[in-house]
Symmetry: C2
Subunit: 398 residues, 2 copies
């Protein structure tokens, strides 16, 4: 019998709390686990022994936690080095914590890996398990990541509404979506399309070079055909020479002594693209939104598939830790469409740590400005049921 | 027996289609109305006789319309002058359209008023009714406007998620919310607060002067106390001398030859405020989002109260038109809290046309940086049930 700890790291998601609740409810079932600590603010709180007792929470509280966006234990962006990890191990030993569940992205898998190796070298019996989460869907090995489906649902619903708005008051609309290196979330913008002329009409992901002249020609082409154009763009798009547009804008901003420009939490890229379109061809109404933090933390919006899988991954981490020394929980897809299902499996921490996955070639169209049917088949079950909408402007004239 | 037309004008909302369906379902019950035209893109489509036949739509289609955001008939920002209204009247006469239902804001009420007066002068028997809509909630006479509750629900859910996100990764977060002259929608940011230290901690509406030094002192005060700060700001905030910050930024932008800066569809104000905070006191993490069009057109998110009232207002416009010559549909509040209910009444078009309402003094706190309990009592029933969330960081330490 020993103590256990669970923590949440990196950027919040809409279902990282469901994984937390999965860990808690499963841990409560196993007599091997005595106390279950919640480590506040990830590694930053663990070194300070900033813990709460998770076994004291009522079922009602847990269900509210599971339905809440963001990280109920708080988070941290700190990437612990060896010395930092050694301090963490000190605390774990002191508290007799021998089960470590860490919900996060590839950096969190890496933290698990380092601490686990350290414990092994020191002969401290210890089991470290990583539970995947990310809105970017960019972890290796697993078919997809908890957190992606819910963020994808937000993006799909946003684009559905925004496309209808653009029909009502026509023009060019740009939506900048999270994703520095992987375009999965931006791709989700297409999932709500129902009519042939529904937007987004153009989608740009970081996996393809973004050449300004090609972009402007694409937009003008759609606008000439439909009289409007809705565009989804990843925040991480790069020029063909590999420089991100965020960097390009930041350099301009520095030259103008305008201060810092960040990639998230700013409308700089959206406004930059809008400016290019305005000065490129004769369209009066160009608008641009940057979805920002809403897409990862919005109360009351979850994908049912995503929240169920996130909770299952949390439970499974505890189950694996009863038999195995360490690992990361991953998902294997068993079927698509109506047959969609996943089974969970254990993978090595080192297989998930540090590296990331990109959108595969077959999910991006040949022109590099849209998503394929294969992508829709992949992403649709993760986002789950989307609302049906109606627009009357295409009905026969009276 | 004569024909009728219904149209939607101005910025879309999440329930303007429910009002449209209310008009359609009620119009179908009255033998006085022969054909019911849907006028596409408001006045811009009416002069071109860009009509569809609304009686041909199935009940299933109508229910999908009622649940869809944005304006299913399209919209227009054009403000018709007398000559334009004369062209509209020509079309109405030609098509024997004697019932005119116009869903929109104060400009739409004014259009109804002008056309109605014109018809009267020319002896054309004609009944013009205005159905209120706006996310800004700034129409006169009515207790509140259809469209506000749903946009308010979006803003409340966004701030609930964003506040939890800010707890997870602490810093200063600024959210810029729609509202050029009225702060009702920005005020809705407080409606999801559940815990004493829940954000938004500061709320700024256009009804109060926004002095930069006071703002920075407010933010620093909250940050020193809580280690974080979430701020909701109306896009239309003004300096004490009456100049909007959007104007100030646009002037700066012009001086820098950076091109156009718009009030909506841009992150300029949010980034400007973030920059001021960063250079003012020692906080590393400052983020800013501009909610943009998502707050008025987001698929799958409606306030039940709002969508029900919007539909009722549409039906009532048709009912009034069976007995009265013209008017605008307004709501009177009969009770609050559990006793919340409204009754509808007819008001004169001229009472609603052109002018707008501001947030009353008793809804804004003495410091001009927050909303009062009186506001919450007013706005809560309109937004309806909000999700309950949980954050564990405040629980007793173990």
């Amino acid at each position: 019998m020993a103590n256990a700890i669970v923590s949440q790291s990196g950027g919040p998601t809409g279902v990282i709390n469901a994984s937390l609740v999965g860990v808690i409810e499963e841990a409560c079932k196993h007599k091997e686990i005595d106390r279950l600590y919640g480590g506040l603010h990830a590694v930053a709180g663990i070194v300070k022994e900033d813990f709460i007792d998770l076994k004291k929470l009522s079922i009602e509280t847990l269900e509210r936690v599971a339905a809440s966006p963001s990280s109920a234990l708080g988070s941290s962006r700190e990437k612990p080095n060896d010395e930092y990890c050694a301090r963490i191990l000190e605390v774990l030993k002191k508290r007799d914590i021998r089960y470590f569940y860490y919900i996060g992205g590839n950096d969190s898998a890496n933290t698990c890996y380092i601490i686990n190796n350290m414990a092994e070298r020191e002969g401290f019996q210890f089991r470290a398990f990583h539970v995947p989460k990310t809105v970017d869907n960019d972890l290796l090995v697993t078919d997809h990541c908890p957190g992606y489906g819910t963020a994808g649902k937000f993006v799909a619903c946003a684009l559905m509404g925004d496309d209808l708005d653009n029909r009502a008051l026509a023009g060019v609309k740009i939506d900048v979506i999270m994703g520095r290196h992987a375009g999965f979330l931006t791709g989700a913008s297409v999932l709500g399309r129902q009519r042939d002329d529904d937007g987004p009409h153009l989608v740009y992901v970081p996996e393809r070079p973004f050449a300004m002249e090609k972009f402007l020609a694409d937009v003008e082409g759609v606008f000439k055909k439909l009289g409007r154009c809705v565009i989804a763009v990843s925040e991480g798009i790069c020029r063909p020479d590999g420089k991100t547009y965020a960097e390009i804008i930041a350099e301009d901003a520095e030259r103008d002594a305008h201060g810092n420009v960040q990639l998230s939490g700013t409308g700089a890229l959206a406004d930059y693209l809008a400016g290019k379109i305005k000065s490129s061809f004769g369209v009066k109404r160009v608008r641009a939104d940057t979805f920002g933090y809403l897409q990862r933390s919005f109360a009351g919006l979850q994908s049912k598939t995503d929240v169920d899988e996130a909770r299952r991954c949390g439970r499974q981490a505890v189950l694996y830790s009863m038999q195995e020394d360490n690992g990361s929980v991953a998902m294997k897809r068993l079927g698509n469409g109506a047959d969609y299902a996943v089974e969970l499996f254990r993978t090595n921490l080192s297989d998930v740590a540090e590296h990331t996955k990109s959108v595969p070639d077959e999910f991006i169209n040949a022109d590099g400005n849209g998503m394929t049917d294969a992508f829709i088949e992949y992403a649709m079950p993760l986002v789950g049921q989307l609302p049906k909408t109606e627009y009357l402007g295409n009905y026969p004239k009276a």
